[in-house]
């Protein structure tokens, strides 16, 4: 389909590389490719590294009620849909919301910031919300790996006089390396297809910053019914995903 002119009306047929020429020269496509890569890279780095510490912390807490409580609360946002997440954060960050009210009342701000309509905050917000949503899920994967570490290792390290930092560095991190590979790949592949959050957060002011390729495919294909160009952009996204996933799995040595 990516080699054809397709629409609901009008002429159709094979037009060779025309769609790909459009995809590789159109400034909005290039812009959204850059956005996709920047957003995916930030989500992957933060979403992969941040949950490690909470996972160690949950394992460390021995009182079962607290352990359960923390695990339950941290895991919760993972279940929520993007509409709910955006709704919750819009409520929190709106010009009359909690964050702005606090910032204004302690005198840090003179006028409230409207976070959701500011191009400066758009990408940061999108990344922060994704990391917030997935933190608990990734922490549970790490926790599963930490739980299976043989406790005798810690005792042996203690006899050798290892500090907390040494134990984390030389016992926990090597043991959760397989889990880290899995989380890294899941986050990378997931973040490249960012759509829901981008769709919900896009408005006239922030469109340049957070329109991802997946979002562009939707706009071109299903709003403008330019199915040929949308398919070509889809092939581009697929190529980027496969390329990134293969490179990443080579680097982390995942089989």
């Amino acid at each position: 389909m990516s080699f054809q002119k397709m629409g609901l009306l009008g002429p159709m047929g094979f037009i060779g590389q025309e769609n790909y020429r459009i995809v590789f020269t159109d400034p909005t496509v290039i812009q959204s490719t850059i956005s996709t890569i920047v957003i995916a890279a930030s989500i992957t780095i933060f979403g992969f590294a941040l949950p490690i510490l909470p996972a160690i912390a949950i394992h460390e807490i021995t009182r079962i009620t607290w352990k359960r409580l923390f695990q339950t609360i941290i895991y919760m946002p993972y279940l929520f849909s993007w509409v709910i997440i955006i709704g919750i954060w819009m409520n929190l960050l709106s010009p009359i919301g909690l964050v702005n009210s606090i910032l204004v009342s302690i005198g840090l701000l003179d006028i409230p910031i409207s976070f959701f309509s500011s191009p400066n905050f758009a990408r940061t917000l999108l990344v922060a919300q994704t990391v917030w949503k997935d933190l608990g899920f990734n922490a549970v994967i790490y926790l599963a790996a930490i739980v299976s570490i043989n406790p005798e290792l810690y005792e042996a390290a203690e006899i050798d006089g290892a500090s907390v930092f040494h134990k984390i560095r030389y016992i926990i991190l090597p043991h959760i390396y397989p889990a880290m590979q899995i989380v890294f790949l899941i986050t990378l592949v997931g973040s490249l297809r960012t759509f829901d959050s981008s769709y919900l957060m896009t408005n006239g002011l922030t469109a340049d910053k957070i329109t991802t390729l997946a979002m562009l495919i939707y706009e071109r294909g299903l709003l403008e019914f330019d199915l040929g160009v949308a398919s070509a952009a889809g092939v581009l996204l697929l190529a980027i995903s496969i390329l990134f996933a293969l490179t990443a799995s080579k680097i982390v040595g995942y089989k």
């Binding site: 895991y75 919760m76 009210s101 608990g136 984390i168 899995i182 997946a214 939707y218 199915l227």
Partner: protein, 281 residues
């Protein structure tokens, strides 16, 4: 165990802080939803409604007819998930048979489908659904997510743990393939089935792009899309009044409620599901 007092204190404070980050936005939304319209438009920190009222819920239920998308979502989720679990179980059962030729290759092809972003197949899917006259029907939402590679592979790992002797002895006793599947495999892999079911319930409940694309009849709108138009303040409803923050919050709370109710069950099976999925052989 690191056995360090300092790190234990650090653990509690870190997790406490994270929990606050997760809980505060929720409390904020719940409190706003019980406030009056006017109260919710005042700037300030809302942790408790100014006057406890169900005003917002009434607007949502009567004026915006929120029950209709809710019913649609419940229909799609329940019917869709049950079919999904059944088909995934059959798929996993077939893949778990040791006598199946080309088993590895089929498993790899199924695994590859997981790497394809779902937005890419949306355009072709739209064209196909149009030809099948499935657009604007709730059936399209069920068909679009009928099976998933993830569920099949998860069921396969569960089925493979069942010792082959059980199957052989059942065969000697004269059971056919269906009976072996229903009487031995399904009861023994109940935790696996529950995991797949709950994963799928949550996914179908939160499904967003599919209803957005396939459905534009307001009567067949699903919950997430309806909530989207309330949150983003699209004027899809015929009423022209402003949707106040308390109505938006009430919409969010109602959409959250089923998930919170199911949460204990979800947590039990989800987390065991992740544990078993995390260990790759």
């Amino acid at each position: 165990m690191l056995k360090s007092r300092g790190f234990l204190i650090f653990s509690y404070s870190l997790l406490g802080l994270l929990s606050i980050m997760m809980i505060v936005p929720l409390i904020n939304v719940i409190a706003t939803s019980f406030s009056t319209g006017l109260g919710s438009m005042q700037p300030g920190v809302i942790f408790w409604p100014d006057k406890f009222t169900f005003e917002a819920y009434e607007v949502l239920w009567r004026r915006l007819e929120y029950w209709r998308p809710l019913m649609n979502t419940i229909f799609v989720t329940s019917v869709g998930s049950i079919i999904h679990v059944f088909l995934s179980a059959i798929g996993g059962y077939v893949l778990a048979q040791s006598s199946l030729p080309g088993k590895k290759l089929i498993a790899i092809i199924i695994l590859l489908t997981l790497t394809i972003p779902s937005q890419i197949i949306m355009v072709p899917l739209f064209v196909v659904f149009k030809q099948f006259h499935l657009l604007n029907t709730l059936t399209s939402l069920i068909v679009a997510e009928l099976v998933s590679g993830f569920s099949i592979l998860l069921m396969k790992t569960y089925f493979e743990r069942i010792p082959i002797e059980l199957k052989e002895s059942a065969k000697i006793d004269g059971a056919n393939t269906w009976m072996i599947f229903l009487k031995i495999y399904v009861p023994l892999t109940f935790p696996g089935l529950a995991t797949v079911l709950l994963f799928d319930v949550v996914r179908k409940y939160n499904m967003f792009i599919e209803p957005l694309i396939f459905i534009n009849d307001p009567l067949k709108m699903t919950l997430q899309v309806a909530l989207k138009s309330i949150v983003l303040n699209d004027q899809v409803t015929s009423t022209n009044d402003i949707i106040t923050p308390n109505v938006v919050s009430a919409g969010i709370v109602l959409a959250l409620a089923p998930l919170i109710l199911f949460y204990p069950a979800i947590q039990r099976y989800f987390i065991t599901g992740i544990y078993s999925g995390a260990v790759k052989e």
